[in-house]
Symmetry: C5
Subunit: 354 residues, 5 copies
């Protein structure tokens, strides 16, 4: 999870649309790649300067401008200006803790979504904001970090696999969203595994760490859900509100994405249910342990306290205690004691404590 | 329950509509049966090759093509192509962990639903996806496994029972859905039985296994509900949104199915309520047990600790302890001890512990 | 409560509208009574054969055909045929575990509702399905058992009390519904009494039986609610969707019934709240008991364990123990012991345990 | 709270609109007062017979007829007849446990609401139903008991304070509602005080009485809420659905009342939240007490049980026990014992139990 | 939080629109500042008398009249009269415990919102009501106290930063709302910090103070939420319902504010979730402590009670006890005792208690 949504308050009082990158700043240069294709042609360009991607605005073929890194606010400002992007849109691109949303502008459509992955130790779910702008003949995608998630799409465009080369920018947009959403399954399946292991562990062991792990997983799920829910709404509105750049043909594909998001959401919900069950198992395990501790204490005390009393009686120093002088008094007392033990054990057996 | 919805992430990045069977692969050949009937004629054909079922596309009588087994994606692809089914539809047919849904296409209507049954040991609720496609003069049904659930319908068509032979494809579709939904009652009634037995068991016995059984049943119910809820919505939309292939006459029958689904859903909800009550009984039983353990400990300790003290006093070795030399001192001490026991027992009686 | 909603699964696979009586079969003959009236005339007929009630279909006066008993499915089928009732409607009449609903047909209006009463021992809430069909000049009411709930209406019609004789079939329908709903107050008031008594009992006594009673009442309320909620919706739709057979004048009366149902529902809700509070009282009572048990144990143990230790010390057999030879050593020890007791009691007083 | 909503079931089977007073019957005569005013004139009349208030029906000035007491159903029936009130309306006036509602009739508007006050000992919230009927030139208000809540309005009309004399019946209606709603603040503020005191009390003391007080307050709040919620809806519909008798100018005032009701409702909600927190404090206080009891028991037992064991060892009567004959054996044992005590105390200090 | 919403009941019975300041009265004079600007000109005036701000009503440039302090109801009444503000609006301005809302009037738009800050010790969230009135060419803002929150806007207007000087009153209104909302982030981030610290603290320490802190924070969040939720609705309606004074261009900015409010709300929700988790940790910590106390008691008692019994046996005074006369009897007993200790420790090790 993005750990610093806090810095949002730093913006208080600034002009709206002021370009401040909210996130961890990185020092590398941002990387701009343009893929320009239609059914016939294909070209891939790594732009050295931001200006290199400007000409594609009016090319009639599909141009996909991908920008990795958001720290160079100046360059992003330039792209924004050239492509006529609204200052508030750029603000949303840079504010990487933004909740997913779709927003329609006159000349383009803006979509912000969160991609999820696992931290290197596999313990944390980490997120990265991906912003997509769909223009007439171009798609601009902004990523926080250089990543390889979209490589598979690049590959397919290059190799003319599937029908992506026959379709327009709206289909490209769909493919980008779809790739991100498919990745959600990966994360939720990982969490399902973790939760299943936790469930088994909790059966036998209820320590503080288990409790913390339950709480930790709960937080991860809450965070995931916070991104999936608004994205679902956004994709739903994309699919319902007809926008000129989205062809009727693509709508059905978007509905497919929408259904995937519902499924992701249901998985998250049932994982939350499972966690709640695990919490119940935990609490019940703790109280079972307590019961067992008490049982052992009670068994020991209930057996030995009466015995100790008997021993105490014959440890008294009265002058006149006839039993003490019986020949087999001592052994009789042992007999009585064993009888007490036997009765007690029978009693516990009947109570099913032993 | 389908145990592997995980494999979904394997699809990440693939083209939409790529035919990948998500489920347990089986090696048997898939089995294709065609029943072709109208008021006058009836024929039943076991197709040897997939192509045998192609001619029925344009027959004017009602053709019901039933396909058992989904592992032969090639054959399914062929049917899809012949009948003009959308790639995303075929994807949904093969992805057997799909949530129930209805989707309208230009030339046909697609319905995915989950059938439920019990595993052989009666402990698990297992599900199988059934996909139905309603065309103008044909219905295609896809089943994961060869099953006999639709045999009763086949029988009735053959023997001209009821009015199924007088009605069209929409009525056949209704009958197929209805048969699946009627089966839900069987599963929920089985669960009601299991839950009732569990309730009685919990009254007398609160062990770890009971808790696990409660959790297990809760999961089964959650899974059932996850299939029933969207199916209810799907049937509701079928009945409300007029589709050219569904005759007004059949709408009322679909409403009947809709009401059955509401009833199934209410049964599931009250079963969940009952499970919650059982959980309360369990927890309260555990704490009652604890109370009883503590009571026994307290009774034993409260009676014997004072007695042991008295015995201890007369075990002291002071030179000058007059009581030790009384003739009946020893017996007097016994008297005191019995008095203490008597008082204690009275006290516990008043507290209603005995 | 109807104990056998299970038998529903027996219907799986049968033709829709197949007349199967779902409920406890009874062997008595069904009883058909017809009341035919208008402002001027009044007649009451006990039909010997089912056919006797057929002529009333076209009589211009108001005809109320009441049928007690549902086991003779053949007779009911005949009525259905004569009055043109849809097979699915008859199915709903016979399936007595149906949830309340209203359904419009072309020539009549169907309403299913549940009547509630108390079992003879007053411990169970029992329900009976009442089905009402409103035609142009007739009302048919189906009851599971012969009952006297509608006698008061019969009386009023006969004796020309109120304005029922001046009004049409829609007003009769309203009066039938109203009578059933008024009966709900009786049941909820009874439950309120039972719950109030339970609340007082729980204050002093927390045993297993109390817990079972709480759970039992909770179930009764859930079942009641399950019938009241859909009936409320049904009456609401009756009152909103104008139907040709219901005159504008009667709408206001239906709204009155609707408000009564809201009130019944609110009563049920507050009874559920009260039960939840009682559960809290129960649990808190159990834990208070535990606290008290622990307190007693702690008081006894804390006082006597140190005393026993002191006694133990002077029971040691060391050669050189000067205290043993003091003249008043023994009595001094007693003094010390009483001091310990006194200090302990002071301590418990300060802790408010005594 | 009205303690007898039970009597509702007494009405079962009676004709709708049968005038039965549901509430505690009182023997005093009902009191009818008429205030007739416009900008110019003002008159106040205490009617001796109910007929005296009949002429005001057609007076062109604003007539406010206030009726205290509902037990004389005959008189109320007469007013109803004269002013053309619907029988169901009169039924609602007399049924004082009715939930607040607004209902439009052709010639008038009916509003039922609950007024709240405190019982004399300040422990109970008591309610009284107030029914208001707004006609063209008259307002009739029905109160269960003679009260002084509306005196302030009477005063203001008499003394020409504010603009009430310049406005019509709709403004008078608004003022009556507003006065009742303002009174709600008084009750909720009282409850807030009581709850705050309870919160402090619960910090130090968790006995049965506290628990009962929490439950009692919870019930009071539930009852309040049950009246405020429907009133809010009623006022909302008054303000939205334009009615000929309510001038556009008054709508804004009604919106103000509506907002007050939202505020009352929010206060009730946060009081419920606070009560839930107090319940948590209570439960946690109980378990803290338990913890402390156990701690004391454990400290005493853990210190003295080992010491008693040591004393027991040297109380054994073996012939050959060298320590017994050491000169300072006895004192050495005391040393060991003090060491044990010291170690134990250190241990408890480290555990922060002391 | 405003501590005295109670005084609301003091208003009961008064005329609506009676100007009573509900809040803590202050004795300082109220302070009126006017900023009048357009693209070309800028002037800032500190009005000595309230009348000085009257001429700006009809100035064609943008006039922002800021009023600090609400205790001088007379002055506020004068402004209201001059600017034609509705009495109910002024009542809302003065009633500082009002819930946020937007209300449209013919000639202006009224917006009430709550600003949040921290009390000096950082423990309490304090609120101040800000009321904004948007007229054609003027904006009036009412603040309870003199504050510097809007200084940054004043600065930007003065220094022509951003585009505020090019835009109209609606943009100024947006900037004022935005500034208040940006401040919410500050408060929620502070609370996030406090909650994180609390979470760590609860891990190691579960005392009464922690519990009180949890409850305190919960209250703060509830109060925050109570202000944010209606403000969200208010801003949503501002943005949806087109009002003549709000230009289409500004709508998008208001949507941005709306999204910020959603984000604030989500933060509050996840903080509440975290608090619920902390509560779980707290309770589980308490019960863990209990477990540990019991464990120690059980270990000590289980080891020493049998040993004491053994010692007791050989403290008996029977004449015939052969073991007593064995040469190494005493040492053998010690051996037995060590064996018991060893077995017990093994047992506890296996139970993982040690």
């Amino acid at each position: 999870m993005n750990e610093n949504p806090k810095s949002l308050s730093k913006k208080a009082g600034l002009s709206p649309g002021a370009l401040v990158h909210i996130g961890t700043r990185k020092t590398n240069k941002i990387k701009v790649t343009v893929i320009d294709y239609n059914e016939a042609k294909f070209s891939e360009v790594n732009c050295k300067t931001i200006e290199e991607c400007f000409p594609y605005k009016d090319s009639s073929s599909v141009s996909w401008i991908n920008i990795d890194g958001l720290h160079d606010t100046e360059a992003i400002g330039k792209i924004g200006q050239h492509y006529g992007l609204h200052p508030l849109l750029l603000e949303d691109v840079l504010n990487t803790s933004h909740r997913p949303k779709v927003e329609e502008f006159d000349d383009y459509l803006f979509l912000a979504l969160q991609m999820f992955g696992l931290s290197k130790d596999g313990k944390y779910v980490v997120s990265e904001q991906i912003s997509l702008v769909l223009g007439k003949n171009w798609v601009i995608s902004f990523q926080e970090q250089e990543g390889d998630i979209f490589d598979i799409i690049r590959q397919r465009i290059k190799e003319k696999k599937g029908n992506i080369r026959h379709k327009g920018t709206d289909y490209l947009l769909y493919r980008l969203i779809d790739t991100v959403v498919d990745n959600y399954f990966f994360v939720t399946e990982h969490l399902t595994d973790v939760i299943e292991k936790l469930e088994e562990k909790v059966m036998n062991n209820q320590d503080k760490e288990t409790l913390q792990e339950i709480q930790h997983l709960k937080k991860q799920l809450v965070n995931l859900r916070k991104s999936v829910m608004p994205l679902r709404e956004a994709v739903s509105s994309l699919q319902k509100d007809v926008h000129e750049f989205i062809k009727p043909d693509t709508i059905r594909y978007l509905r497919d994405v929408y259904e995937h998001l519902i499924q992701v959401n249901e998985t998250i919900d049932s994982e939350r249910d499972t966690l709640a069950s695990i919490m119940e198992l935990y609490l019940s395990g703790v109280s079972n342990k307590m019961n067992q501790i008490m049982k052992i204490l009670t068994i020991i005390a209930t057996i030995f306290i009466p015995l100790t009393f008997i021993a105490g009686v014959y440890g008294m120093n009265f002058d006149n205690m006839p039993e003490l002088h019986w020949k087999y008094g001592y052994f009789a007392v042992w007999g009585v004691m064993f009888a007490v033990i036997f009765i007690m054990i029978m009693f516990f057996k009947r109570k099913r404590w032993l």
